[in-house]
């Protein structure tokens, strides 16, 4: 009883340890695993990332020069990043935002691409 009293009184008269998210934004570590981004300009639509993805969350439409990711499927495992031969995929250290619909992010390569 005395130990917990001490802890509790100490807490009562000191600052709470709440991080106050979302009023205060949070800094993530460089290592933190988050959303996958594609630097679409250098993508060659080889489809290797699609094959390596354990959740089948990626899709490549070669003829439309489109690479897309289903945010709701991705488990941030990084397999696609490791596999990409052009190293155009990166893993950000921020998470993909919640949404009211299932979000598929499409990246379409601009026509006038310089390779």
């Amino acid at each position: 009883m005395s130990h917990i009293s001490k802890i509790i009184l100490k807490s009562l008269f000191s600052k709470p340890s709440t991080a106050m998210y979302p009023i205060k934004k949070r800094e993530y570590y460089p290592n933190t695993r988050g959303a996958i981004e594609n630097d679409i300009k250098s993508c060659i639509f080889c489809g290797i990332c699609v094959k390596k993805c354990p959740t089948k969350g990626l899709e490549v439409l070669r003829d439309q020069k489109q690479w897309s990711i289903d945010r709701c499927r991705c488990i941030s495992c990084g397999a696609c990043v490791t596999a990409c031969p052009k190293k155009c995929l990166t893993m950000e250290n921020t998470y993909s935002a919640p949404s009211t619909e299932k979000k598929v992010d499409r990246y379409i390569q601009p026509e006038d691409k310089v390779q």
């Binding site: 009883m1 917990i4 009293s5 509790i8 009184l9 807490s11 009562l12 000191s14 709470p16 340890s17 709440t18 106050m20």
Partner: protein
């Protein structure tokens, strides 16, 4: 006329005071847990939201019981604050409790059934002490009327320290604070889910919440009685006791009903009955 005004004032002001006290409880508990916690007005938001919620009624008698519970709780408070008979307040608060329990039983859910059973046990546990308190006050002031008790020339605590300690103990039971929060709780960590209130939702839950505000104010009023001739001290003491209850809530695990039963009777006997006995010897 004065009685009428007091009653109306009580009925109108108590929910405000009771709700605020509940808010203070939430905030202080959070701080004790090193959290920021909700706004102090949170209990009002909760109740107002519950009124906006769809009402799912399990059966008709359920609402009747809740309404009776609220009615008799308010009645108890009114009786108390207009200075009525203390035995009658004890009786009517018990009656209110019984309606609450009946409401729990009436839903036929195993959780609320068990919650009601435990509430019944809590009542049996705290009742002796409450009655001892009434008797003690009578022995000191020679009256069961609260207005006479208040008018007594000295704080009653001088004569009834043992009874006061015993009463504080049962106060924890009555306020449904840990370690004695066996019959219901709205935070999710109870083996019987929300206990008695499991099957209540929407408006009826809001009414139960409001009834508890009235009840808390009434309970703090009884603490005040012990210090009555010194009103400032009395109010201070009731608030301090309330803080102590929050503190106890946060420093204890929930005990089992057997322990609750044994300990409360033990305390009633040791502190309460001995005190009364001493008084009796002195007076005769």
């Amino acid at each position: 006329m004065r009685i009428l005004i007091t009653s109306i004032l009580f009925i109108l002001l108590t929910p405000i005071a009771g709700g605020l006290l509940a808010g203070v409880d939430r905030v202080i508990s959070a701080r004790m847990q090193k959290r920021v916690g909700p706004s102090i007005l949170q209990p009002f938001y909760d109740v107002l939201k519950l009124f906006q919620k769809e009402n799912v009624v399990v059966n008709v008698s359920q609402n009747l019981y809740v309404f009776s519970f609220l009615f008799f709780t308010i009645f108890t408070g009114v009786l108390f604050f207009i200075g009525g008979d203390i035995l009658l307040t004890v009786f009517s608060s018990t009656l209110a409790g019984i309606f609450f329990i009946l409401g729990g039983y009436s839903t036929h859910s195993p959780y609320s059934f068990l919650g009601s059973e435990r509430e019944l046990i809590s009542m049996v546990s705290d009742e002796p002490m409450v009655i001892l308190m009434a008797i003690g006050m009578y022995m000191v002031t020679q009256s069961f009327l609260i207005r006479d008790i208040i008018a007594f020339n000295q704080p009653i605590i001088y004569y009834l320290p043992g009874v006061f300690i015993g009463y504080l103990f049962v106060l924890t039971i009555k306020m449904k604070k840990s370690p004695f929060d066996l019959s219901m709780s709205h935070h999710a960590h109870q083996e019987i889910v929300s206990g008695i209130t499991t099957e209540f939702s929407g408006k009826s839950l809001a009414l139960i919440e409001i009834a508890h505000w009235y009840e808390n104010i009434f309970l703090l009023g009884t603490v005040f009685l012990f210090f009555a001739p010194k009103p400032i001290l009395g109010v201070m003491m009731s608030l301090i006791i309330y803080l102590v209850e929050i503190f106890i809530d946060n420093t204890n695990a929930r005990v089992k009903w057997q322990w609750l039963f044994k300990s409360s009777w033990f305390v009633a006997l040791c502190a309460g009955a001995v005190n009364i006995f001493v008084l009796f010897i002195n007076q005769s």
